[in-house]
Amino acid sequence: MSSNTDFEPKIIAFVCNWCTYAGADLTGTSRLKYATNVKIVRFPCTGRIDFLLLLKSFAQGADGIIVSGCHPNDCHYTSGNFHARRRWIAFRSILDLMGVDIRRIQYSWVSAAEGSKWADLVNHTVADIRSLGPYQEYQKIADYLEKGGYHGED
Amino acid sequence: MSEKNTYLPYLMTIEKITKEAPGVKTFRLKFQDEAEAATFEFQAGQFGEYSAFGEGESTFCIASSPTRNGYIECTFRDTGRVTSGLSSLEEGSTMGFRGPYGNVFPMDEWKGKNLLFIAGGIALPPMRCLIWNALDLRENFRDITIVYGARTVKDLVYKSELKEWEERPDVRMVTTVDPGGETPDWKGEVGFVPTVVEKVAPSAENTIAIVCGPPVMIKFTFPVLEKLGFRDDQIYTTLENRMKCGVGKCGRCNVGKLYVCKDGPVFSKEELNLIPAEEY
């Protein structure tokens, strides 16, 4: 599975506008090369990233997810990232209990100055997800109604 | 099996969009399939389920008159998921329509009578269908009076048609806005619909009153009509309960033993007396 070269992971990154998005921008302007598997969704703050968006991403075909924002004490809104961190702790615990593969969600702090950290983060995450393979387990369930489950309870 | 799927809508093209009031639009819809257009028939009072593909279905009356062939019209206010989805569509786009559903105004029985139309706010559309139907068959009826009110001048819908009705010599048109809703150049009445009705209503003798409006307007207009001498079988209204299927199955519009979608939406006050008022 680790040498799955045909598989290109689909990765969604939920990032905050002030730090990580700017950081990712810097990666680009610094002409640092990194994996192209990531689709970035920009939010005002990590505190605004609803946990359900992560689940929706898996359901719609994401194999991995990056959630990233300002380092502690650097939040544009003072404490959005602290609130987000608490929520992630609880969310991870619930997902783990339910058997959702939490290795597929990578949380990170990337500042506006850390262009190279963003490149590293993406490259690492892509490599991790590549070795985990596609998240079929989840995607299969998302298709439930289509597969004829609506005739009863098979 | 060629059994028809009730839930499968007709595909309609939005031919024309008219902005009526803030958030209120009228769509003129044409059947995409000509065979469907040719066999489609409806009568005043009926409603349909309108689809915004991607958002769902919403229930409104058919606002155009059955005497105007080749299209149907609907008027709605952008308030929920479906209506905002519809509202974002442009001329030429496709939407869905199921219908016509429900019963009709007994216009044949009203021949030779005076008609008093009383409508409030966004409830003019079901009435508009009826008004045009009556005006297109004008010789069937005697005096026609229309009382229409809205909260403010801005909220009045079908403004050009209101003007047309006002200018017709064979229609008595009274427009009113709630106190405080008037503009400096407002020439109509100022006051709530029930009060205005009391002032301008024709004699109850040989007259049918049709009332459409929000529940509170209806509840205050009925006693006024009673005072004016209208019997319960001379008063008609249409109910607008929440619906999903439109065909008597989903259970939402059940009021007492009646279903608004099957036994209504048109009810005479006489019929309304048989069902619990708290449920509509």
Binding site: L55, F82, H83, R86, G99, L145 | -
Partner: protein, 266 residues
């Protein structure tokens, strides 16, 4: 039991309260009873089978009315009452709590301070059923846990008995009923069901008092109470609260600490 009946009858007869919320004998086990006069207080019972969490009714204004009322509350209900108080959903001057302590004595708790003091004496422990299922889940691999819950979720038909039975689900409009956007698909299907239950659990972080009412209410026997219970047990050391005790320093998710755990963040 006789004492509870007598006291309830007196409270009602003297007009101290207009309603006593308690239990009566039901079809297979006791069920909630709304006593509005001293005569119906004769139907009241109270024993270890009385497990409905009556706190669920305390936020329903059309039921409890505007006047003072009393509720018969075993320890699980008391925990919910404290949480409702912390969330500003109850007021002291409207509520009188009756409970029976382990020695069989009838206790009247008038202030929330009284209730808090009383609740503190009882440690929240797993029961046999919870212990059995949770230790089974503990031994499962991640893949097995996923399969286990997916099987359970396939039975959920979204009757929302879990939500209705929960004293802390008092929102007048629930997140599943929001449709712009349609956040959680409203029809029953395993994924949509799981999304609902994860959502519910997230909304219970730092709030659930593990009364078990949701699991007890589930008509298709999904052990949903264990999702919030496990989460509550896991989060207690993280966020520094005592399971089953009201939060002293604000709700877990509306506060934070500089040194919250972050080894999972790269």
């Amino acid at each position: 039991m006789e004492k509870i009946r007598e006291r309830a009858a007196t409270l009602l007869a003297e007009g101290v309260v207009t309603l006593v919320l308690g239990y009566e004998e039901g079809t297979k086990r006791p069920r909630p009873l709304f006593c509005r006069n001293s005569e119906s207080a004769r139907k009241l019972i109270f024993d270890s089978r009385c497990i409905h969490n009556l706190a669920v009714y305390l936020t329903k204004k059309e039921l409890v009315g505007k006047d003072r009322f009393a509720v018969i509350a075993p320890i699980a209900t008391l925990r919910s009452i404290m949480q409702l108080y912390v969330e500003n959903q109850l007021s002291e001057d409207k509520l009188l709590v009756l409970t029976v302590d382990p020695s069989g004595e009838l206790r009247e708790l008038v202030t929330f301070e009284d209730i808090a003091g009383y609740v503190e004496q009882f440690e929240l422990k797993r029961g046999e059923r919870e212990q059995e299922i949770l230790s089974k889940i503990d031994e499962m691999s991640r893949e097995e846990r996923w399969k286990f819950w997916m099987e359970e979720m396939s039975h959920c038909f979204k009757c929302y008995a879990c939500r209705s039975a929960c004293p802390l689900c008092y929102c007048s409009k629930c997140v599943v009923e929001v449709n712009r956007p349609q956040w959680i698909n409203p029809w029953p299907a395993p994924l949509a069901n799981m999304e609902w239950h994860i959502n519910r659990a997230m909304h219970m972080v730092g709030r659930c008092t593990a009364c078990g009412a949701c699991g007890d209410a589930c008509p298709v026997g999904i052990p949903i109470d264990l999702i919030t219970r496990k989460m509550m047990e896991d989060m207690a050391p993280e966020f520094g609260y005592i399971p089953g005790q009201p939060a002293k320093k604000g709700n877990a998710l509306s506060t934070w600490k500089l040194d919250d755990r972050e080894q999972f963040i790269r």
